[in-house]
């Protein structure tokens, strides 16, 4: 039995069932669709009124139904509406809903004989209405049947025979734009505009072999490795050989060697060829004239080809989208008039500028999608990535270039135009006009009057990101530590800091993570001890460690560009600005004002250049993780307020208290214990004062300021968290040698946790460091980023010295009774926080290396700051 009724449905659609009560809609829906796909008005009525047949609840029930349907369609899910839908106003609402979400509305009408409906209703105890209702509904239905297509249903299937309801088969049709199964590789080619010769040359350059007919005309091109060309529309108009371009393109598309999407010029050409009234301008005249020289058969085929072009394609499992004028994510894979219109014309605000050209909304600036979007339409001087989108129209017909992007290689290949084929329609815009300072909503980028934009520097927005990129509860996927959540209130706290105090996001590419101390020592007069750190790593499965001297300074991240051009092109800094980078703190603030920052970067630049690190690392910029010394360079105010103030106050209070107690004792009062405690306290305060003075030394301007680099974070195209610390510190050593006035090095030693002699020696080394006044050391896995049995391992733990910890736990923390309490400290939250921040940092660096858009970097950086607002004991 193969004569079953086949119902073709687009595989993203809103399926509207239409039929009188008792016509079998629910049965049909249950048999042919998944339960979750079906929204029944009866069910919704029940949800809002506890009675599925309560007609008074109908309005509320449909509100609920529409709301759920809207959510499903927004998520791209097929949705079936099970309601009588015999009235036009009800169907209209559903059609509007489908259009709002750019999916196709389709109708399945169930129209069994009246007797069947009445019999079914009679068999149900919950339905009280009689045959009259069914009769009325069927009458309404029959009245609308003819007009369903006109109402907007793209397909209408009518099932009259009762048996069909059961035997019908649903067949899901792929949408025209759905080419997700095709993975390429592709060569995506921008606006050709009749430049046949350039197209042939470019195809040759890309490795295609041209096939020609007996007249020598190119009719196909084939790539030996099976690559396929993707033509981005506007093949026609303006240029010298529109028919030639069409001939080649039609051949390639027919043979499967190419896919093509429609451009606005194809659209208009079709209208003209059909004899519709259009304004013949912008190069259309040339096309019509050139085509009139071709035979009728070719003209017919050309019209058919242009008419049949799809407006956009979704390719490579949804990772690639092509459309002539680009496409925002919500339209990917959707079908509606406005999706097509956007794909052809882009997003116009409906306004025109003073030249009568449409004001165009720069959708790419707001693009946050996962898929790469490639498009043409508006000529740009250089193709550049904007949020995973790239415009490949480089104005060939106006004497620019014809450009292709190799996908997935992301390699740009372009051919210069042989000549200026078409003069600009309008005079070039004068410098300083609004076009140069484009703004989001008011971007008056000129339509296709190409030269008005060509020759300008790429348009850059001033590093603005959208609030939606950072606020609310945010879940970030990281490659090394899975999903990391920043709660809404944490984001809110970070927003204030980021917005009021932090650097421009373009200069803020990374924030370092917090670092936990080693497990707490459980005996002696120490809270932290190297053996505890070694034991921690032993437990985490790491045996080879590096101990690095901990500088008592302030963490500083240094971004340095080789030259102003790199700063402008790679990061979008103002090319006239003196500061080609940044020196910022753990919270994203600049350490210094503009002059000192520029001067410090100048010094770093000189050292990097002297060592020729630019060539060695094959990069025109670098990002360096350092400690900036001395402590007071950054923390002067804090030291004065907190430490010096506390010290001076304590000194004054305790010396007075001591002498008052002495007087009291002298006259025979028993104050012994209190006096002893107070005197002991006095001594501790003196040690406390000595401790913070250790880390301060005078600075004047940059005089006395040193950077101790300990890690190369990123350069063009790569991150370094997989390179061992020996290499990182060797770079630091070379910098310190080249520029001892700017850099200082970090003492370290290697430890094998399995070798007690090795750990004992490291412990002695730590004792020497801290006895000499050092803050302590940081213990890291020697090989850098490590995964253990339980995932990502702590990138480092700190082991701080006894005296230094007075600054943290107070002057008298070494008192045994205080130590006992302090040993209860809990490290779990701190460790977890450190790992999450570490993973976010790695993620930021990897995204930076991969050239991801700014918002993708910024969300990691922002999340680090957000996590910092978590309630964790800051003394750890």
């Amino acid at each position: 039995m193969n004569d079953n009724r086949i119902l073709d449905l687009p595989d993203l659609s809103l399926v509207v069932l239409i039929g009188a009560s008792g016509s079998g809609k629910s049965t049909f829906a249950a048999e042919h669709f998944r339960a979750t796909q079906v929204l029944s008005s009866d069910r919704c009525r029940g949800m809002v009124s506890d009675d599925e047949n309560d007609q008074n609840a109908t309005d509320d029930a449909f509100d609920v139904l529409h709301y759920i349907a809207g959510k499903r369609l927004a998520a791209g899910l097929v949705t079936v509406v099970d309601a009588t839908n015999v009235h036009k106003h009800g169907r209209d609402a559903l059609i509007r809903l489908a259009r709002e979400h750019d999916v196709l509305p389709v109708a399945i009408v169930l129209d069994p004989p009246e007797s069947v409906c009445i019999r079914r209703n009679a068999g149900r105890t919950d339905r009280t209405f009689g045959a009259e209702v069914v009769r009325r509904q069927r009458k309404d239905l029959h009245r609308s049947l003819k007009s369903l297509q006109r109402e907007g249903f793209r397909r209408v299937h009518v099932l009259r025979d009762e048996s069909e309801v059961h035997t019908a088969e649903i067949r899901w049709d792929r949408l025209f734009n759905d080419r997700r199964a095709e993975t390429g590789p592709f060569d995506v080619i921008g606006d050709v505009h009749g430049c046949r010769s350039e197209l042939e040359t470019l195809l040759g350059q890309l490795g295609y072999r041209l096939h020609r007919d007996e007249a020598g005309r190119a009719i196909d091109a084939e790539h030996p490795e099976g690559r396929r060309a993707l033509l981005l529309g506007d093949l026609v108009d303006r240029g010298p050989d529109t028919p030639g371009v069409l001939r080649l393109a039609m051949g390639m598309v027919a043979s499967g060697n190419a896919l093509a999407v429609a451009g606005n010029h194809e659209n208009k050409l079709v209208k003209a060829l059909r004899g519709r009234k259009v304004t013949v301008s912008h190069g259309l005249a040339e096309s019509l004239e050139q085509l009139s020289g071709e035979d009728e058969e070719f003209q017919r085929r050309a019209q058919e080809f242009c008419d049949g072009l799809v407006a956009h394609y979704v390719l490579d499992h949804g990772n690639l989208v092509v459309a002539h004028a680009g496409l925002p994510e919500r339209y990917h894979g959707r079908a509606s008039g406005r999706v097509r219109s956007f794909a052809l014309y882009g997003d116009t605000t409906g306004e025109t500028d003073e030249f009568g050209l449409p004001v165009r909304y720069p959708w790419a600036q707001d693009y946050r999608g996962k898929a790469v979007v490639l498009y043409g339409h508006t000529p740009v001087p250089e193709p550049e990535w904007i949020n995973r989108t790239m415009c490949l129209d480089t104005g060939c017909v106006f004497g620019g270039r014809l450009t292709a992007l190799r996908y997935p290689e992301h390699e740009v290949v372009s051919m210069p135009a042989q000549q200026v084929w078409s003069e600009p329609v309008r005079p070039a815009r004068t410098a300083g006009s609004p076009a140069a300072g484009s703004s989001a909503a008011g971007d008056p980028s000129p339509g296709d009057a190409h030269t008005e934009t060509s020759g300008q520097t790429p348009r850059r927005e001033p590093g603005t990101l959208d609030l939606g990129d950072v606020t609310g509860r945010r879940i970030l996927r990281t490659r090394h530590h899975g999903r990391i959540t920043a709660e809404a209130e944490q984001s809110a706290a970070a927003l204030e800091v980021m917005s009021r105090f932090a650097l421009d996001p373009r200069r803020l590419l990374y924030l370092p993570p917090t670092m936990p101390p080693c497990s707490t020592a459980n005996s002696g007069d120490l809270l932290e001890h190297p053996e505890r750190a070694f034991a921690d790593y032993r437990r985490w499965g790491v045996t080879e460690l590096i101990c690095q001297e901990k500088h008592m300074g302030s963490r500083a991240v240094v971004l340095l560009c080789r030259d102003a051009g790199t700063a402008a092109n790679r990061f979008g800094f103002d090319p006239h600005e003196a500061i080609r980078g940044a020196v910022h703190t753990r919270t994203g603030r600049s350490f210094f004002g503009p002059e000192l920052t520029a001067a410090l970067l100048e010094n770093v630049h000189a050292a990097v250049t002297e060592l020729n690190l630019w060539e060695e690392l094959d990069s025109d910029w670098l990002l360096l993780d350092t400690e900036l010394l001395p402590w007071n360079a950054k923390a002067g105010e804090l030291i004065r307020d907190r430490y010096a103030g506390t010290g001076a106050a304590a000194e004054s209070a305790l010396s007075s208290a001591t002498s008052a107690l002495r007087q009291a004792r002298a006259r025979g009062l028993d104050v012994g214990e209190l006096a002893a405690r107070t005197e002991k306290r006095y001594a501790d305060v003196e040690r406390f004062r000595a401790a913070y003075q250790q880390y301060c030394r005078p600075t004047e301007g940059l005089e006395g300021i040193r950077l101790a680099p300990f890690q190369m974070l990123a350069t063009e195209g790569r991150s370094y968290h997989d390179v061992d610390h020996d290499w990182h510190l060797s770079v630091a050593d070379r910098l310190a040698e080249a520029a001892p006035e700017t850099f200082t090095t970090t003492r370290r030693r290697i430890v094998d946790t399995e070798d007690t002699a090795s750990t004992a020696a490291a412990t002695r080394w730590w004792e020497e460091l801290t006895t000499a006044g050092g803050e302590g050391m940081v213990v890291k896995p020697r090989t850098n980023r490590v995964r253990g049995r339980k995932g990502l391992v702590q990138p480092g733990v700190k082991v701080r010295g006894r005296e230094y910890l007075r600054l943290v736990y107070g002057p008298e923390y070494t008192e045994p009774r205080h130590l006992d309490r302090l040993r209860q400290r809990q490290l779990g939250r701190k460790r977890s926080l450190a790992l999450r921040e570490h993973a976010l940092g790695l993620e930021a660096l990897d995204r930076l290396a991969e050239g991801e858009p700014l918002w993708r970097l910024h969300e990691c950086v922002f999340a680090v700051l957000a996590l910092e607002s978590a309630a964790v004991d800051p003394r750890l």
């Binding site: 409906g350 603005t464 917005s499 004065r640 304590a650 008052a660 736990y809 107070g810 003394r875």
Partner: protein, 489 residues
């Protein structure tokens, strides 16, 4: 860098203090002339020959007498603070619990000492002494020594607080050998006052010096202040500062206290002669401009505690008011101040408060008639201004944008402002008229607005207005084109 520095920078810290025992001290000495000085023991209700200990909030208070003879008697109150306890009490408060785990509070006479004073010397504070009733109201020669009290960076504050009460005040600024002056002084007071009065003054003024009360300030604190302030606070020239700080800046409480303190005979309000405050004039000017522009929906960008939003709500012409600020704390304050919860529904519907940041584009700001940047731009780093310009003038693009900002030239008219200083510590810049005009011009041209410059406040022929105002009106050159499709292709 210790992590707490980062905490301080991020300013979003919630945690508790644990740790160490420390001490604060106050000594009080007297000579009683004909009577034996040891009668101080009767007045204080504390025996001169014993060390006595009392459990108090956050620690132990010890009272002992370093000297007690007929000629002179000195009582010492030594407070040993247990920071664990302290943390428990401080959790709900803000102040010093934010940021510093090594803090000077354990060593400086502070609100903690005031609390201890109130508990240990409660009877003396209330002016009761059954043994020597004649001494209670009698001024006696007193010397009070506080080895360390905070002065908040103003070494003259102790003098201003205590001298009007009849004290001879001596201060010695405390210093650190390396860092010089710190924000603490050693304080010596001497004078002839009744003991109870002296203790009450200390009880009120120690927390005022501290300006970071460690307990939650509730309504009853107003009564405590008024009770302890007795008759001296009414005529104290710093009564406003005292009330404000004592009540931890809780505005409604401060207002209530000041209202009760206000004596009809005590003279005119201090600021009546200088006309309306500049801030009020600014709001009026902004409202006037908004009305002139015919705006109905208005965004107050950087609404702070919501004063302008409140004014906008008073005028039914404004039907949609959105206040945004980057500070969630500020928004909470605005919500309370405006009384959103109690507002009638019709009015409540007109107003929304939301967090937003001017350095990010925010699509919910699109579609309003007007946006106000009142005293906001100067709180942004110059380098971040382009981001704000893009977000406001480029992205939100209201018909009208109002900007007010200080006129730096006018600052010379403010006697308390040092030369070159800004009006607010968070100001990143203050523009003179030429700088503001240049900025306004540039922004207007770039984003297609027509600018108009004005000022607010008393006009000085040389210096201009104290506040600069700019009105940007979106240029209407953009027009809808019915044939836009043809224009496109």
């Amino acid at each position: 860098m210790p992590d707490h520095e980062r905490m301080r920078e991020t300013g979003c810290v919630r945690w508790t203090i644990r740790g160490i025992l420390v001490a604060v001290l106050l000594t009080l000495s007297t000579t009683l002339g004909s009577l034996p000085a040891t009668d101080l023991g009767f007045l204080l209700h504390k025996h001169p020959e014993r060390l006595q200990c009392f459990e108090v909030t956050a620690g132990t208070a010890h009272v002992f007498y370093p000297r007690a003879d007929a000629a002179e008697c000195t009582a010492a109150l030594l407070l040993e603070i247990d920071p664990i306890d302290l943390a428990r009490h401080a959790r709900r408060s803000s102040g010093w619990a934010l940021g510093a785990y090594v803090n000077d509070r354990p060593y400086v006479a502070s609100s903690l000492l005031a609390v201890a004073l109130g508990k240990v010397f409660r009877t003396a504070l209330n002016g009761r002494c059954d043994a020597r009733p004649e001494l209670v109201r009698q001024p006696i020669p007193l010397r009070i020594h506080l080895p360390a009290v905070p002065d908040g960076g103003d070494p003259e504050l102790p003098e201003r607080l205590f001298a009007p009460l009849g004290w001879h005040v001596e201060t010695r600024p405390l210093t650190d050998p390396e860092w010089g002056r710190v924000d603490c002084v050693e304080l010596n007071l001497s004078g002839d006052l009744p003991l109870a009065e002296a203790l009450n003054q200390l009880y009120v003024l120690l927390p005022v010096l501290d300006d970071a009360k460690h307990y939650w300030v509730a309504e009853e604190e107003v009564d405590k202040l008024l009770r302890a302030g007795g008759d001296w606070l009414v005529s104290h020239p710093e009564r406003e500062l005292i009330s404000r700080r004592y009540l931890a800046h809780a505005r409604t409480l401060v207002d209530s206290a000041l209202a009760q303190l206000a004596d009809p005979d005590s003279g005119p309000e201090p600021h009546q002669d200088s006309g309306r405050p500049l801030a009020a004039q600014r709001r009026s000017a902004v409202l006037e401009r908004l009305r002139a522009a015919g705006a109905r929906s208005v965004v107050d960008l950087g609404c702070g505690d919501g004063r302008l939003v409140g004014d906008l709500l008073e005028d039914p012409a404004f039907t949609e008011i959105l206040g945004v600020d980057v500070s969630t704390g500020g928004l909470g304050a605005a919500e309370r101040k405006l009384g959103l919860e109690r507002m009638p529904e019709r009015k409540r519907r007109c107003v929304r408060l939301r967090q937003s940041a001017l350095t990010y584009t925010d699509s919910t700001l699109i579609g309003h008639d007007a946006a106000v940047l009142m005293e906001v731009v100067e709180h942004l780093d110059l380098a971040r201004l382009p981001a704000m310009e893009h977000a406001v003038f480029g992205h939100a693009r209201p018909e009208t944008v109002l900007v007010t900002t200080p006129n730096a030239e006018y600052n010379v008219r403010y006697p308390n402002l040092a030369a070159g200083a800004y009006r607010h510590p968070d100001h990143r810049f203050e523009w003179d008229r030429a700088q503001f005009a240049a900025w306004v011009e540039r922004v207007a041209e770039r984003f297609g607005y027509v600018p108009e410059l004005d000022g607010v406040g008393e006009h000085d022929p040389e210096l201009g207005h104290p506040t600069q105002l700019a009105v940007f009106t979106r240029a209407e050159s953009a027009r809808t084109d019915a044939n836009s499709e043809d224009a496109r292709s």
